[in-house]
Structure formats: structure tokens, C-alpha cells
């Protein structure tokens, strides 16, 4: 089972988060914290040596996912990784997911026996439910620029929400146009039908898009993840807003 390590400046925050995670994960889930410094860990801060010990305490060949709050917690975790033997390092992932949401998503997934890639992926998507739920009360402009991941490098995910206005929705020809535009960008793009709850499916597969059953009036969410995510989304937004170039509608 993949082990989890929670790294936080605050001991209290980390301990409370463990309680939350334990509510959704089986007791076999290996879970450790590295949080706080000084006497009784009462000062805010992180310690790479404590992180190393936490990782070792939950380590198995299934690997360890490390979640951090911010700033120096990330630096300390990276230093910890540098100080661990390379055989262990291969099986340890520092995950840029948000701490609370990510820990809970990771706890559930790891508890199901998933491999570390799946646990990492689920943690990364952990903001999706909140974003989706609040999307009705958020203005379109804010939604269009809401990043789902805080950047530690090039991986920024953004989601836009659009309504299908063309008469035939996401049937074969519009779907083919979407695939055409999507495949011209070297980014991960998925589409979800928010109205009937299908997806996410790859925006680069015609067959997959058609399974969404997108009708006129349905709301779809397009998520792009990668260095040119915003350009891809702009192009796709233009396509949908132009009714996929279907003038007869």
C-alpha cells in the first residue's frame, strides 16, 4: 500500500489532518507526519531530517506520496529526498496537490490499494469537486483563469466551462473539429459533460468525445494541463462559441 507523509509548518495542522484522513482510509494505510520545530514541535517550521524519518517509517516498494503545505516545507522535502538513497528516491513522489484536499483524496486512493501514479493523479485532481460545486456561483471570467494546480514548474491545469449552443451539440462533425483543434496542442486536454455527468474523456479522441452525449444546452468542462494550457483553452473556447463553425444552426 502506498504510504503518505504530511509535511506542514504546523504540528497542530498536521495532526488534525491525520484525523481527517483516518476517517476515510483503512487503518492499514501507512501515514506519518513531519511538522513543527523546536521544543515539542511548537514552533512553526519544517525539518528535512524529520521528513526523512517519516518517509522511512511508511516506506515500502509500493512507494510514498509526500504532501506539503507551502514554501519551506517544499524545500525541506526536496532536501530530504536528496539525502535518501537513490533506490528509495525512485519510489517517492513529492505531490504539489493542495494539502488538505490532496491528503484526503490520496488517503482514499491509497487505501484502495492503488499504485503511486494513481494516488498522485487523484491528489492532483483533489480541487475538482470544490471547483465544480462552486462553478455555478462564479463568474465566467474567473472560472476561465482558475488554475487547478499551483505551479512548481510547468504543470498548470486550468478548466473552462462552456455551454453547447449549436443545434446538434457534440455530435460527430463538431466533435471532429474539437479533436482537430485539441490535437494541435501538446497538452493534456479532457472534456467532461457537466450536465449528464459523463467524462472526463480525452479531447483528442473522437470516439471518446461522442460518448459524452453532448446536446445543445449542455454545459461542458474542458481541462488542459501543460505548458500551453491557456492557449489550447482559448482556441477551444473560440471553437465552441463559434458553434463549431456550423452556420446552418
Amino acid at each position: 500500500m502506498v504510504g503518505l507523509v504530511i509535511v506542514s509548518h504546523s504540528r497542530a495542522l498536521a495532526e488534525a489532518l491525520v484525523v481527517l484522513v483516518r476517517q476515510v482510509a483503512p487503518k492499514e494505510l501507512p501515514l506519518a507526519i513531519a511538522a513543527g520545530v523546536g521544543q515539542g514541535h511548537r514552533e512553526f517550521g519544517t525539518d528535512a531530517v524529520e521528513i526523512i524519518e517519516a518517509i522511512k517509517s511508511v516506506y515500502s516498494p509500493d512507494g510514498v506520496l509526500v504532501l506539503m503545505d507551502l514554501g519551506s516545507a517544499v524545500l525541506s522535502a526536496e532536501l530530504a529526498l536528496d539525502l535518501l538513497p537513490s533506490e528509495m528516491r525512485e519510489n517517492i513522489a513529492l505531490c504539489p496537490a493542495p494539502l488538505v484536499e490532496g491528503a484526503i483524496a490520496a488517503g482514499v486512493q491509497a487505501g484502495l490499494g492503488s499504485n503511486i501514479k494513481a494516488v498522485f493523479w487523484e491528489a492532483q485532481k483533489a480541487l475538482d469537486p470544490k471547483l465544480e460545486h462552486l462553478s455555478g456561483s462564479m463568474k465566467d471570467e474567473v472560472l476561465a483563469t482558475a488554475p487547478l494546480l499551483s505551479s512548481t514548474g510547468t504543470e498548470i491545469a486550468s478548466t473552462i466551462f462552456l455551454t453547447l449552443q449549436n443545434l446538434h451539440g457534440l455530435h460527430a462533425r463538431p466533435a471532429a473539429r474539437l479533436v482537430q483543434v485539441a490535437t494541435s496542442y501538446n497538452v493534456d486536454i479532457t472534456v467532461t459533460n457537466e450536465t449528464n455527468g459523463t467524462g472526463p474523456v480525452s479531447a483528442k479522441s473522437l470516439n471518446a468525445l461522442v460518448t459524452l452525449g453532448g446536446e445543445c444546452g449542455h454545459q461542458i468542462a474542458i481541462t488542459a494541463r501543460g505548458p500551453n494550457a491557456s492557449q489550447a483553452l482559448d482556441a477551444l473556447k473560440k471553437l465552441v462559441l463559434s458553434n463549431f463553425g456550423e452556420f446552418s444552426d
Binding site: 520545530v37 523546536g38 514552533e43 525539518d47 528535512a48 514554501g71 519551506s72
Partner: protein, 211 residues
């Protein structure tokens, strides 16, 4: 005259004293553009190092630097922990087994230490960080060596470069660390990390001035 193990330990003892003297000042700088704990964090770290002196006495300079690095990592708490920790760990790797350092050795150690900070923190010159004091100090020391300066002049040049770099952080807008959350409001304040770096390098120059 080379820098002996005892001279290195003297430097560190002086660092602890300088940090303690400037603790409130470093906190004040960090209050303006950070989370107000840089002075306290550094003091905690250097006090812990002082406790390690019995273990460090008699060890080679590389081991001394490594012990300092690991102590800072575990006790400082904020970003200065992994950053100064990496600084000393990298210096330690270069000075492994050495019982004394020449001026050239110190230049090599300082450069390796600073490169470690670059790789760890991923900051660039002008981001308003400790690197804005360290990078000029490294270059000035290398220039001084190339020009054939003795230890006193070389360290004076290096320290002066660090001081100017530290003061040059005042108008900068922070792009790393807590200060970066303040954006333009971080301008007009001297960076606490650049300040502590300058203080540590000045302590080295003051300690080794008569070598």
C-alpha cells in the same frame, strides 16, 4: 596563512554571537516583508550548533561544515533551514578531509555552497534573496584571488560585495519566499536573508583577518 579547523570553529562561534546581537534587527526586517521569524530561527539554529561544539572539535573541516548544515536543517524551521543547511552541506563536501583551508579552498567552498543555494531555492539574481548578497561575494572573492590579494584584502573585498548586494535588495520586488506574496509592497525593505548572509560573511572576514 591557512584557515585551520580552530579558525573555522572560531568563525562559527562569532556567527552565533553576531546572529544573537542582530536577532531583533533580523526579526524587524522579516516583520516588514515576511513572517517575522528569521532572527529567531537563525538564533535557534546557531545556539544548537554551539551545543555541538564538543563533537565538532578535532574533526576535519568538511565534517564540521556538514554537522553545521545538518543542525541548521533540523532546527531553523523556515526556508533558511534547508537553504543554509544546503550551503554548509555543499561546502562540507568540497572540504572533506581537510584539516585546513587555503584562501583558494575557501573560495571553492563558498562557490559550491552558493551554487547549492541556487539549486535548492531556484532563485535568480534580483529576486530579493540571500543570493543577492552571496553571488556578488563569490565573484569578488574569485576576482581578488586572481588579482593575487592576500587573505585580509580578499575577504574585505568579498564582504564589501556582500554588503552592497544586501543594500541593493532594498528597492527590489521579491519573487521568492513569503515576501513575494507582498508584490510591490516588498520594495523599500532590505531582505532579511541577504542581511544574515552578509553578517555571516563579515564574521568570517573579522575572524580570519589576522591569519
Amino acid at each position: 596563512m591557512p584557515i585551520s579547523q580552530d579558525a573555522v570553529l572560531d568563525w562559527i562561534k562569532n556567527c552565533a554571537a553576531v546572529i544573537a546581537e542582530n536577532c531583533a534587527y533580523l526579526i524587524e526586517l522579516d516583520l516588514a516583508i515576511g513572517d517575522a521569524d528569521h532572527g529567531a530561527n537563525m538564533e535557534r539554529g546557531f545556539n544548537a550548533i554551539l551545543q555541538k561544539f564538543p563533537e565538532m572539535t578535532g574533526k576535519d573541516i568538511g565534517s564540521i561544515f556538514k554537522a553545521i548544515g545538518m543542525t541548521l536543517v533540523s532546527t531553523v524551521g523556515g526556508a533558511a533551514g534547508p537553504l543554509y543547511g544546503t550551503f554548509f552541506l555543499q561546502a562540507g563536501m568540497k572540504m572533506a578531509g581537510k584539516q585546513e583551508m587555503s584562501l583558494e579552498d575557501w573560495s571553492i567552498a563558498l562557490e559550491a555552497a552558493t551554487n547549492g543555494v541556487v539549486l535548492r531555492g531556484k532563485a535568480e539574481p534580483g529576486d530579493k534573496t540571500m543570493l543577492d548578497a552571496l553571488l556578488p561575494a563569490v565573484e569578488a572573492l574569485k576576482d581578488a584571488l586572481r588579482s593575487g590579494y592576500g587573505i585580509r584584502e580578499a575577504l574585505a573585498e568579498s564582504t564589501e560585495a556582500a554588503r552592497q548586494g544586501m543594500e541593493a535588495t532594498i528597492p527590489l520586488i521579491a519573487r521568492k519566499g513569503r515576501a513575494s506574496y507582498l508584490g510591490e509592497r516588498s520594495s523599500g525593505h532590505q531582505d532579511p536573508g541577504a542581511t544574515s548572509s552578509y553578517l555571516l560573511l563579515k564574521a568570517a572576514a573579522d575572524t580570519w583577518v589576522d591569519l
